[in-house]
């Protein structure tokens, strides 16, 4: 056992400790389960099962002893509750799926388990991953009898961001060394930014969507969240790879060792700075932190190149047409017939549908189902859905134009730091507008990251967003790692954790 507390070790260090048997997988699992329990007031976890976790840990200890251990042998992780798991309930943060047990594991869950990771439990999120503050979860966190807010460990009266809020909190509060998240319009990057951790969403299609409870099929991507780019690289290497028998949108691109190029020089790297990301809506404190990080890059030899992403503003209406359209259809299967919630009393089939869905879905989900059904309906399809698809293509083209002049794009993740719980209250539009910088990359299917870049108002973390061209994850992680070698924002810890 080293002198550093287990929960301060990064994934890479922890994996080494485990492999060299200075700490056992069971000890590591027990340590994090204890921390999760001690800090359950944060509402990060929605399901734990120590028996299962410890059984997995014992199996990894045996594998380590037998010399058959995978690269993540014994590393405890936790999954966003959007991934279905055999060993834990899978709820997607919804009353609709309260207690739902999946008969199979998501591909990403299987891949991480195959690499040796041990599952600590499932993490809170916005219902069906719809939200920017994790205020839309309908599931009671571990230790609670009713749904409760997920709290940002940097200031527990603030939101952690969403929809992977529980994931970001678990990493920031050191309740897990690394976790999985999913990103549809920014759901990995924005909570990573708000909680001062590192997260990456790979190119759409690099990680299998099989077993991810679908929100918007053409946008959903799984990715890791951890404290450092180095740790994210380790997890991402295990998560990606083709899954042609289960996910038709999974790309035929081989798995890659994303750790290989972490230390490459970034001297001469051209970083594109989109003017549209630095306009009026950007809070000065966020701008200051982002500018600071960009200066660090210049010191490391990178060149800042002004670029334009002219349709940035349009990404909000485009996203809030396409994502709800797909969601309205994806969520039709929750009808009370086969699984999940069914209303108790109903008079006939239609009444059963109506009551089941009225009771089972929360307000934000219903809002998006209605928007989605509307934009797909006869007479409106061309004006909304089809038009949105056309602009989506143009947004993707804008990025290709920009990448002619730069290797990466950098800017803020979100216009502000994490806001206070309840601040956006009954104003869903305020939440939607806060997604402006993450949506364009999502619509284009590009890989994107959030890297801790400093602190703003109230001492809240600020993330720097890095966007790469398709399949440029290694370059993103390289750039993030080099920044993290030069700065210590990612090593700062919220007080008391």
């Amino acid at each position: 056992m080293t002198s550093t507390a287990l929960h301060d070790l990064g994934v890479a260090q922890l994996a080494t400790e485990l492999r060299e048997r200075r700490v056992s997988a069971v000890e590591a699992a027990q340590h994090f389960l204890a921390r999760a329990q001690a800090h359950q007031n944060l509402g990060a976890y929605v399901a734990v099962n120590p028996d299962i976790t410890l059984a997995q840990a014992r199996a990894q200890d045996a594998a380590i002893a037998a010399g058959t251990a995978g690269p993540l042998a014994g590393v405890p992780i936790a999954h966003k509750d959007i991934f279905v798991t055999k060993d834990f309930p899978s709820t997607a943060g919804s009353k609709m799926l309260a207690g739902y047990q999946s008969p199979f594991d998501a591909t990403v869950v299987t891949k991480l388990a195959d690499a040796g990771a041990v599952t600590l439990g499932k993490l809170n999120c916005d219902e069906f991953a719809m939200g920017s503050a994790n205020e839309n979860s309908a599931v009671a966190p571990v230790g609670f009898d009713a749904p409760a807010p997920v709290r940002n460990p940097w200031a527990t009266d603030r939101i952690p961001g969403g929809s992977s809020g529980g994931s970001a909190v678990a990493v920031a509060a050191r309740l897990a060394p690394a976790v999985t998240g999913t990103d549809t319009g920014g759901s990995i990057r924005q909570p990573a930014s708000f909680c001062g951790i590192t997260g990456i969403k790979p190119t759409y299609g690099r990680a299998s969507r099989y077993g991810m409870i679908a929100f918007a099929s053409s946008l959903d991507q799984a990715g890791p969240m951890a404290r450092s780019a180095e740790d994210c690289a380790l997890l991402l290497s295990a998560m990606c790879g083709p899954d042609p028998d289960r996910d038709s949108t999974s790309l035929d691109v081989p798995a890659e060792n994303f750790s290989a190029k972490l230390n490459d020089s970034i001297d001469g790297l051209r970083i594109g700075i989109p003017a549209e990301f630095f306009g009026e809506g950007l809070a000065p404190d966020v701008r200051a932190a982002v500018d600071g990080a960009l200066k660090e890059y210049e010191k490391l030899g990178a060149k800042l190149v002004p670029i334009s992403l002219p349709r940035t503003q349009l990404s909000i209406p485009v996203y809030y047409i396409i994502a709800p359209a797909e969601a309205s259809s994806n969520l039709s299967r929750f009808d009370g017939v086969k699984f999940g919630h069914r209303a108790k009393d109903y008079t006939d089939l239609v009444d059963m549908y109506k009551k089941t869905r009225a009771e089972g879905f929360g307000d934000e989900v219903k809002r998006r189902i209605m928007i989605g059904a509307y934009v797909l309906s006869h007479g409106y399809y061309d004006a909304y859905y089809l038009q949105a698809q056309k602009i989506r293509r143009m947004i993707a083209d804008d990025f290709q134009n920009a990448f002619k002049d730069c290797d990466l794009i950098a800017g803020p993740v979100a216009p502000t730091v994490a806001w206070k719980l309840g601040d956006h209250g009954n104003d869903p539009l305020a939440d939607y507008l806060a997604d402006i910088f993450t949506l364009p990359g999502s619509l284009a299917g590009l890989p994107g990251m959030s890297v801790p870049a400093g602190f703003g108002e109230g001492g809240m973390p600020v993330g720097l967003q890095l966007l790469g061209n398709y399949f440029q994850e290694a370059r993103l992680l390289n750039a993030a790692h080099r920044l993290q070698q030069a700065t210590d924002f990612h090593l700062r810890r919220p007080e008391g954790f």
Partner: protein, 482 residues
């Protein structure tokens, strides 16, 4: 020709046929497609639409679409798109059906067939790939319905025609021809009772030259008999309505075989908005020219081509050729017999006659015929070489059919059916018959041909049917003339 009118109305019919594809597994999952299993035993997580599941296209189903397109001379789209058809129903697990909407895989093409002597052509609009739904079971559950999802995800090709048919007879002939083609090319087992081939008929009537009338769609016609009854009833009903001054309302109707009537299920006002949009879970379906060529190379000869070849190679009349190419097995049986005995017309006569009669009586197909092609060829050989008469051949056929024997010559031998080819013995019989029937002889010589036939009959009787009728004719004529 002009269309047949009914009470001054022209009938207009278009078809939509749901053809279940004979693939091993479902269109978007690996669950088996076999019919008749215990409810919900052939449905996997994907078919149940469990959270997190995704569809993956079955290549075999695409191959079926390519084959159909090749058989019907259609355009096979190099890129087609899967779309979601959204509606709630308990037997639709995802709350949407994956289908093809704007860009289907098979576009255009035509079905040609004979209606009596007249050649008809029905143009296709399209054929698209989609998944079947499950089944709601309303019996067996008091006050509740059961859901069986075994059928959910079974691959379908929905084949849609232009409104080209002008009578119920033509519609049924079209359906039979399409049924023949899909079973012939092996993409569908054609079992209508099990729902493998389900037709919807869009029926309207109009005064000749007028705009198309409002159509009503008769759903789920799964027998040719009911198809004709349903369409005929619907035509009469629509004409009566119009004659009574009522406008036809667009509607979906069901045929009740017990009452012989159609009744409306839902009208256009209830028509759902299916909110079609391209399925983001499935990339566009790409079909390479190479794939089409590979399927073409593996395709069996089509019935129309084969019938033409039967006419050209075997000198069969078109009627025979068309009849023998009603099924692949029948055609193969014919070819085997014809090649083995080198008597194609005799082979055709026997297959269309005695063989078909016996098969119909036994209500079975040629695959189950107890008389093999080799045996029938041997039998025909014995007729052709004069060993036995046609009548005797029927007795031999009977013995083969019932399994009494499996050897043609052995039956001829044991039953003593050999024709009397010894002209000495035959002449003796003829002489005796002439001597015993002076009246008939006199009448024949007086110019009455009937009397000749009476003498032939006597001779055949005296020979116990073994005399060769041709030989009898020749010898008798010679003797009477002499």
């Amino acid at each position: 020709m002009t269309a047949k009118l009914i009470h001054g109305y022209e009938v207009v019919i278009g078809f939509e046929t749901h053809t279940q594809l004979a693939t091993q597994s479902k269109i978007f999952s690996r669950a088996p497609t076999a019919f008749g299993a215990e409810p919900n035993t052939q449905a996997c997580a994907v078919d149940l639409a469990l959270p997190g599941t995704l569809p993956v296209m079955n290549r075999e189903a695409v191959a079926c679409a390519i084959k159909l397109g090749l058989a019907l001379g259609s355009h096979i789209a190099p890129v087609s798109i899967f779309a979601r058809k959204n509606y709630f129903y308990p037997d639709l697990p995802k709350g949407y059906q994956i289908s093809q909407f704007e860009i289907p895989v098979v576009q255009g093409g035509e079905v040609e067939f004979f209606l009596g002597d007249e050649k008809k052509t029905v143009r296709l609009v399209r054929a698209h790939l989609e998944e079947d739904a499950g089944k709601s079971l309303h019996e067996d559950f008091i006050g509740q319905s059961g859901i069986d999802l075994n059928r959910a995800g079974t691959p379908l090709l929905e084949i849609v025609t232009e409104p080209d048919m002008r009578s119920s007879e033509e519609a049924v002939a079209y359906a039979k021809e399409l049924h023949k083609i899909v079973t012939w090319i092996g993409i569908c087992d054609g079992n209508m009772q099990e729902g493998s081939f389900r037709c919807d008929a869009n029926v309207s009537v109009r005064k000749p030259g007028a705009e198309l009338g409002t159509r009503r769609e008769i759903k789920n016609l799964n027998s040719f008999k009911f198809m004709q009854q349903a369409i005929d009833y619907e035509i009469r009903w629509q004409i009566e309505q119009i004659e009574d001054g009522h406008a036809i309302q667009q509607a979906t109707v069901l045929f009740d075989p017990d009452t012989g009537e159609t009744r409306a299920m839902r009208t256009k006002e209830d028509a759902a908005d299916y909110r079609y949009f391209p399925d983001p879970d499935l990339p566009p379906l790409h079909i390479s020219e190479q794939w089409v060529q590979d399927e073409r190379a593996q395709m069996a000869e089509l019935p129309r081509t084969m019938a033409a070849r039967f006419v050209a190679d075997y000198g069969l009349p078109e009627y025979d050729a068309t009849t023998l190419t009603q099924s692949k097995a029948m055609a193969a049986y014919f070819e085997a017999v014809a090649k083995a005995c080198s008597q194609p017309k005799l082979a055709s006569n026997w297959i269309m006659g005695e063989v078909s009669r016996r098969l119909n009586m036994a209500e079975t197909g040629i695959e189950q015929a107890p008389v093999t092609a080799t045996q029938l060829a041997a039998l025909i050989g014995r007729i052709a070489d004069g060993t036995i008469s046609n009548n005797a051949a029927k007795q031999v056929f009977d013995a083969l059919w019932t399994g009494e024997s499996n050897d043609v010559d052995a039956v001829i031998e044991s039953k003593g059916l050999k024709q009397m080819n010894d002209s000495g013995a035959l002449e003796k019989i003829i002489d005796e018959v002439i001597a015993a029937n002076p009246d008939n002889v006199a009448q024949f010589r007086a110019g009455k041909d009937k009397a000749f036939n009476a003498l032939v009959g006597q001779i055949m009787k005296a020979s116990k049917g073994k005399a060769n009728p041709t030989q009898v004719n020749e010898l008798l004529r010679a003797k009477l003339a002499g």
